[in-house]
Structure formats: C-alpha cells, structure tokens
C-alpha cells in the first residue's frame, strides 16, 4: 500500500561533544506507510526525530522531503511543509485550553494578522470560524474524551492518557503529511494502548497520514507497523517487517534480549 517516496534520509550523522548520536543513518518513508523505529535507550531515536523536525542540525548527511532538502530549516518551516510531531515527555501548552492548544497548531495554515484582528474584518472572522471548526473535528477523533465541557479546560487538568491524545490531536491540527509519534502509548495501561493502537491505524486509513513512530511496546509495534527499523548506537542494525526484525539475531542481542513470544 505504499505510494510515492515522501521522505529520504541519506547517511545522516550527528555528534554531541565528540559522541556519535547518529552515524550514517539511511532511512525512507513512502506515502501511506506506518514505520516503527525501535531500539535500546540512547540509541538515538529521539535525536532522529529532532533532526527531521529541524530541532537539531545534523553534522553530515541530508534529509529530503518531497524532493526538497530540509537542512537549515527551522522547525516551524518543517512543520509548514507537512511534518508534524509529538513529544515523548508530553509537552502541551499546559495553561491554554484544550481548544486553544489545537487552534494554535493551525498557525502555519492560516494567515490573518494584526490588521484583521484589530478591525475584525470579515476575512478574520471567517478564518477564526474555520480554525475552530477544524479544531473540533480533530478533537472529535478521540470520541468524547476531548470535547464538550473539556474544550475550555486548561490542558493541565487532563489525565496522562488524555494528554497523550491531545498531543496527537495537536499534531493532526497542523494538517501534516507525515506524523512523527514519539512513544505514543508510554505510560498508558494495556487497555488504553490497545485503543490507541486502533486509532493509529485510523490515522492512516481515515485521515491519510503517513506515520513514523518510536515505540517500546512490542504489541503496538507488531500490530500497526508495515516496516520496522532498529537503531542501536546511532546505527541501523536491522530493517524489515516485524517478523523479520523480531527474529533477527542481532536485534535480539542488542534490544529484545529474547525472542518476542509468538505472534499472538
């Protein structure tokens, strides 16, 4: 089901204080894929995301999205080109309301400025309407959890699982092509992660997003991934379907410790 090549990463490297965080990493995503990135702690997974989203500049290599190199772009420019992300440690705008969190994420898709705001022009009002409508649509993706009376609550009152959901909603609101999910089910209980796994599938089937995901939970990885990439010490040690990867001796040695019990 993979389509056009969206993102190509070409021998990407980065060093922090003499230490290689990533070494000659090659990677690609095609349209409509769900790719999981797994690997031990400190393997450079989050650095990898930071690099794609423009938060860290690579030392060498290239990141090409739809034929355009992303090097040197600020994170907001990357997002504007269609790559959104969530954060491993959930970083919401805690004192803004849930609605505002999602509204503000549409910043790069809208354009009204000071003039419109000051004179309340028709264009300004129309755009505000659209922003709000889209925000509610995105929040509605999670059932009733984030809408209703919750819309005007500050994000800080949400439960842990709901914060994770709001993070995803916020990334969706930027109208991206690719969503980078950084450990979307971390800290959720088995039931919640099962539910979210289903939603990740829907993100592709209903909303048409392409997804790259970092995850430790092998159940989730197994259930949704088209392809799995294993990182260790900043290098790719294996790549392929979940079955291929989970039986790869090198992966077992470096990451899994023992084969994942069955495919049940």
């Amino acid at each position: 089901m993979s389509g056009e090549r969206l993102l190509t990463i070409d021998s990407l490297s980065v060093t922090f204080g003499g230490l290689d965080a990533l070494k000659n990493l090659d990677f690609h995503v095609d349209e409509g894929e769900i790719v999981s990135v797994i690997g031990p702690n400190g393997a450079g997974k989050t650095t990898f995301f930071n690099m794609i989203s423009g938060m860290v500049a690579p030392t060498a290599g290239d990141i090409v999205f739809r034929g355009e190199s992303l090097l040197g772009f600020d994170p907001n420019q990357v997002t504007a080109r269609g790559i959104a992300r969530t954060f491993q440690n959930v970083r919401l705008f805690a004192n803004m309301t849930i609605l505002e969190n999602v509204m503000v994420a549409q910043h790069c898709r809208t354009k009204q400025g000071v003039f419109g705001a000051l004179f309340n022009t028709p264009g300004f009002r129309r755009e505000e309407e659209e922003i709000r409508a889209h925000a509610e649509k995105v929040l509605g993706f999670f059932g009733t959890r984030l809408i209703g009376y919750r819309l005007h609550q500050p994000a800080s009152v949400l439960s842990y699982a709901n914060r994770r959901r709001l993070e995803i909603a916020r990334a969706m609101a930027t109208k991206p092509t690719i969503i980078l999910l950084d450990e979307p089910v971390a800290g959720m209980n088995p039931k919640e992660s099962e539910e979210l796994t289903g939603l990740i599938g829907k993100l592709r089937s209903e909303w048409g997003f392409t997804i790259v995901m970092i995850e430790h939970d092998m159940n989730v990885v197994r259930d949704v991934s088209d392809r799995v990439v294993v990182l260790d010490h900043g290098e790719t040690i294996a790549q392929g379907s979940f079955e291929e990867v989970s039986t790869d001796p090198e992966v077992i040695e470096a990451y899994l410790g023992r084969p994942v019990e069955g495919a049940s």
Partner: protein, 606 residues
C-alpha cells in the same frame, strides 16, 4: 473509586491554652518585628513622614509607619495555615498571648534602640541616628518614658492583631476596611481638595480635614463609620450584584460589559472637567505610565519576553518627536507638526523594535532580559555622548518642543494638564483596544504558546521569531506614543528621563497589577504611579518620594513571593504559577479518568 476525593472536610480541634505556645516561633516573629521596627526607624521614615498628619493632632504618617507593624505580625504569627481536608484549631487565648508576646519582643527592640540613641553616637555611618529620631520616639519626654510607652503600645497592638482572629469575619473586615479608609482618605487629601472644588463640595472637605492638613477627629470617625457601614450592610448587596453578573448568559454579559465600558468612558471624559490642575497632572502622569505598561504587558505578559530595556522605545518616541518638532533641535530641525512627527515616530519605533528585537529574539529568556537592558543603556549612553550630540543635544538635551497640535483644534502642552490627560487617555484607549483584540486572535494565541513552551510552539509550526518580533514591535509602538506625548508635555527631553529605572518601574506596575491582564495593569498604574509616583514624577504621597524606590523593590519581592499572579490576576497566568498544585490535581483526576469518563468533574473552567 472516587472515595479518595476526601477533601473539604474541615475538622475543628478545641482551642489551645494561652501558654501552650510554640515559643521559638514567637521569638522568631518577635525578633523579626524588632528588626523591622528598628530598620524603619533608621531609614528615617518616622522622622521624615512626621509632618504628614493622618488624624490631627493624634497621629502622623511617621508614627503610623511604625504602628501597623506590631499589629500585622501579631496577626500573622497566629494565622494557621489550613490545608483543605485538614484540621484547624478553635480560636481563643492562645492567639491573644501569641500576638502580645510578639508585640512585646518587638517593643523591646525599639526600646533598645531608644536606649542606644540616648547613650551612643552612631551617626557616622547611620545618617538618621540622632536627636530627631530620639525626640520622636520618646515623644519629647524622658528616655525611660519612651521605652515604656513603646513596650506598651507594641504589646497592645500585637494583642489587637491576635484579637482579629477572635472576631467574626465581618467584624474583622469592617475594622480593617475602616482603618484603611481613614488612611486612604487622608493620603488622598490633596486630590480630594482638588476634586471637592470641582464638585462644589468644599464644605464637606473643610469638615473632614484640618486646615493644616490631616483629618479632623470627627472626620476620621465619620470616614471609619461609613466604611464599616459599607462592609456590614453594603457588601452583601454588592456581592449579589456580582453573582448576578457572573450568572448572566454570554450575550447579556457582553451587553453589561459594554454598558460598563461606556460608563467608564463617560467618566474619563467628564471627570477631568471637574478636577483641578494638580489632579489632572497626576492623571496625565498615570496615563503616560499606563500606556507604557500596556505595551510592556503585551511583551512580558502575553508573549513572555522579559524586556528590561523597554525604556529605549520610550526614548525613541521622545527624541524623535523632539528632533522633528523643536526649533531648538541642534542638528536636523524640520519643525514638523506633532501629528506628522507621530507618523515618523511609529516608523522609528518599528525600526527600533526590529533592530533591538532581531539580535535578542533567539536568546534564552534570562539572557534576553540582560541584553535588552544592555541595549537600553547603549541607546541612552549614545544619545548622551558628544558623538551624537549634533543630533540629540548630548547632555544638554533638546528643549523648546512646541507641544502637540491636534488638527488645529487643540494645542496640547504641559501647562494645560487637562488637555494632556485627554490626549493620553485617547492613546490608552487605543492601547487597551489593541491589547484586547490581539489577545483573542491568531497572533495572541501564538504569543501564549511561545510563552508556555517556545520550542514546542516552534515545532507546532509557529514562526516564533516573527511572532516574538511582532510583540516587540507592538510594544515598541505603544511605548513610543508615550514618549511622543511625554516630549510634547514636558517641552524638553534629556537622557536622564530614560534611565533603566523607568524600565524597572514599568515592570513593577505590570507585575503588581497582574501580568497579562489589562484591568490589572490599569489598577497597578493608578495605585503605584498615582499614589507613590513614577521614577521622576511625584505621586499623591509626595513625602514618600524618598522611599518610593525602596518600596517598589520590596513590593516586587513581596509580590513574587506571595502573589506572583498580581493584584488582579490573569486566570491562566495564576494557573501557570501554581502549576504544581494543578499537576497534583491533574494527577488525581488521572485516576478518576482511567475509571472511564462521565463521572469526572469539570474543574476550573477558563
């Protein structure tokens, strides 16, 4: 599973005995009181404020500067911090004894000071050490008398402080309001004098006030009774009105708000006509600082950028106006009309905002604070230097600014404070409108996001550099308006009007009022600039001018420690500052939520 939400139960334990005290705490508070009393005496407050009478002939602000302290500490020492869901003690002799002991220790400190004043001469480093202070503290009687009286007074006041815990809530509130009212009315004497003339109420003024200053005893009693009466009888009604307002549906509330706004507008237009020169002058000053504070509020309160060099934009407005309009401008002197100059001022402020903003915008918040402060100084030092004196007049400044002509309809100059006030009020109204509209726009949301977490805002597609520059520029333009009016009002500009001090005072106004909240900023400006005075401008309490910067410093610290959200807080902001509590709250809700939704409670709604 909501069983663990056992909050709100408040158990009352029987009162403790009078001697069942935490003696170390009492001594600590007593020692603190003694220190503060001695400190206040030695910085010269009692002596210098003695000439300002509160109630003739009984009490002056000098004595008052000492008297309120024992009562305050007597009250706080036995104030029990009650966490919700926990128990508290019933009140009784315990509180009285605690207050009295704290007062006694404090009084002993003062007595010791009297004894020291009498026997030693420390006037070499301590300038206020001397006979004036001794005379004041001993009421011009013997040393022993003074010591005893202060022991007595301080103990008594401490006891009164403790007593406040025993009175019913309404009574406490009535007493405090009455005392505060007497103080405020007396503090506002000169303004009331001015106002009473306008409203033909001289008779009331003369009845209330002594000719040489201060309330008459009967006046004081009248004021106290009115204030207490309001608390006892009027408060519940005011509360009811407020509740009705809160309960209104949105549409109706908008209408009520609009009505209130119109009312305030009419008051702003009509009131100055009844006011004298002095009050108008004062209001004009308040307005100038309010305009600055509204601008800084956008930068600090909304976008979360701590700009300590904000005065630079004030200077840009002032100097641009001076150069363009004054015939005595040393270099360039096109002698433009004020309104034309104002257009250039906007341009210059925008440029300055971009020029200062661009290099600092990517820096971390605290570095940015210091670097902007540096920029402010660079601009001031450059303006003052011989190098730039060809344009700016150097240390001599630029004089002879003709004033602001408004389409030939009016000519606004410093000698006509009422006209200045109207001009300032107009610009403040513009600033308020701008702040209000922007806060509710796409840009305002982006500012808030940047304030909350800059790198996430960036990752969510917000061009943080542009957005922050925008805040800088909007703030700069508002400040430059203030500068332009300032130049026209005073008729001259000197670099000394643009010191760092101004930036800090504006920051205090914004913070004391409540960051990010327009009503708060207005209240902050009126209270601080109006009553205490601006950096170079006297306020209503002119005698305080020597102490005002000390008070500003102390206020800033106290605000940050006790009420970081300001007098009239912004709901969001206060949430951020009490985040820990909220996180715990959220933590709790987390479990409720895991339980499936439906039975969760909606907490604070924005």
């Amino acid at each position: 599973m909501t069983a663990h939400l056992e909050s709100g139960t408040h158990e009352v334990i029987p009162a403790r005995g009078g001697l069942d005290q935490n003696w170390r705490k009492l001594l600590r508070y007593g020692g603190l009181l003694a220190l503060v009393l001695v400190f206040v005496s030695l910085i010269g407050m009692p002596v210098k404020l003695d000439s300002r009478i509160v109630v003739e002939p009984y009490i002056s602000m000098g004595y008052l500067s000492l008297l309120w302290l024992p009562a305050l500490l007597g009250y706080t020492v036995s104030a029990e911090k009650v966490l919700e869901g926990m128990a508290s003690h019933a009140r009784g002799a315990h509180e009285l004894v605690a207050g009295a002991i704290v007062g006694l220790v404090g009084g002993a400190g003062l007595a010791l000071l009297i004894w020291g004043l009498d026997t030693r001469d420390l006037s070499d480093p301590l300038v206020n050490w001397g006979d004036n202070l001794l005379g004041l503290l001993t009421f011009n009687e013997t040393v022993g008398y003074g010591m005893l009286v202060w022991l007595g007074i301080s103990t008594g006041l401490g006891l009164l402080g403790g007593l406040l815990h025993l009175l019913p809530r309404t009574a406490t509130r009535a007493v405090l309001t009455a005392l505060l009212a007497v103080f405020l009315v007396s503090a506002l004497e000169s303004a009331l004098d001015d106002i009473s003339e306008g409203f033909r109420l001289e008779w009331l003024f003369e009845w209330l006030f002594e000719a040489r200053g201060g309330l008459t005893p009967k006046g004081a009693i009248a004021v106290a009774v009115v204030a207490a009466g309001y608390v006892v009888f009027g408060r519940s009604r005011a509360k009811a009105v407020r509740q009705r307002y809160d309960a209104m549906p949105t549409v109706e509330r908008t209408r009520a708000n609009a009505a209130l706004l119109v009312l305030a507008g009419v008051a702003v237009v009509v009131l100055p006509m009844f006011l004298g020169k002095l009050t108008n002058e004062l209001l004009a000053n308040v307005g100038l600082f309010l305009l600055l504070a509204l601008g800084l509020n956008i930068v600090v309160g909304l976008a979360g950028i701590l700009d300590l060099g904000y005065v630079a934009f004030f200077a840009v407005g002032g100097y641009t106006t001076a150069i363009l309009t004054s015939p005595q401008s040393p270099g360039l002197s096109p002698e433009l009309p004020w309104l034309v100059a104002l257009v250039v001022v906007i341009g210059m402020a925008t440029l300055a905002g971009l020029f200062i903003g661009a290099p600092v915008i990517r820096m971390r918040g605290d570095y940015l604070a210091i670097v902007t402060l540096g920029f402010g100084e660079i601009i001031r030092l450059t303006v003052r230097s011989d190098w730039a004196s060809g344009l700016t007049g150097g240390a001599q400044g630029i004089t002879g600014i003709p004033g602001a002509g408004i389409f030939g309809v009016a000519e606004v100059r410093g000698i006509d404070p009422q006209a200045v006030f109207y001009l300032v009020a107009f610009f403040c109204a513009v600033a308020i409108y701008v702040s209000w509209r922007l806060e509710r726009s796409r840009l305002g949301r982006a500012w808030m996001a940047v304030r909350e977490d800059e790198s996430v805002a960036e990752a969510m597609g917000i061009n943080t550099v542009n957005v922050k520059l925008m805040a800088f520029v909007v703030g700069a333009i508002l400040a430059s308006f203030s500068g332009a009016i300032f130049a026209a009002k005073v008729g001259s500009v000197f670099e000394s009007s643009f010191k760092i001090l101004v930036s800090i005072v504006i920051l205090v106004v914004v913070i004391v009022g409540g960051m990010g909240r327009i009503a708060g900023v207005i209240a902050g400006a009126v209270v601080l600039i109006g009553v205490l005075g601006g950096p170079n401008q006297p306020g209503l309490l002119a005698e305080f001018s020597e102490f005002k910067l000390l008070i500003y410093g102390a206020l800033l610290v106290w605000m940050m420690l006790k009420r970081p959200e300001g007098l009239i807080p912004n709901v969001r902001r206060s949430r951020e500052l009490h985040q820990e509590e909220f996180l715990q709250d959220a933590w709790l809700r987390g479990q409720v939520d895991a339980d499936e939704e439906g039975n969760t409670t909606g907490g604070a709604t924005a």
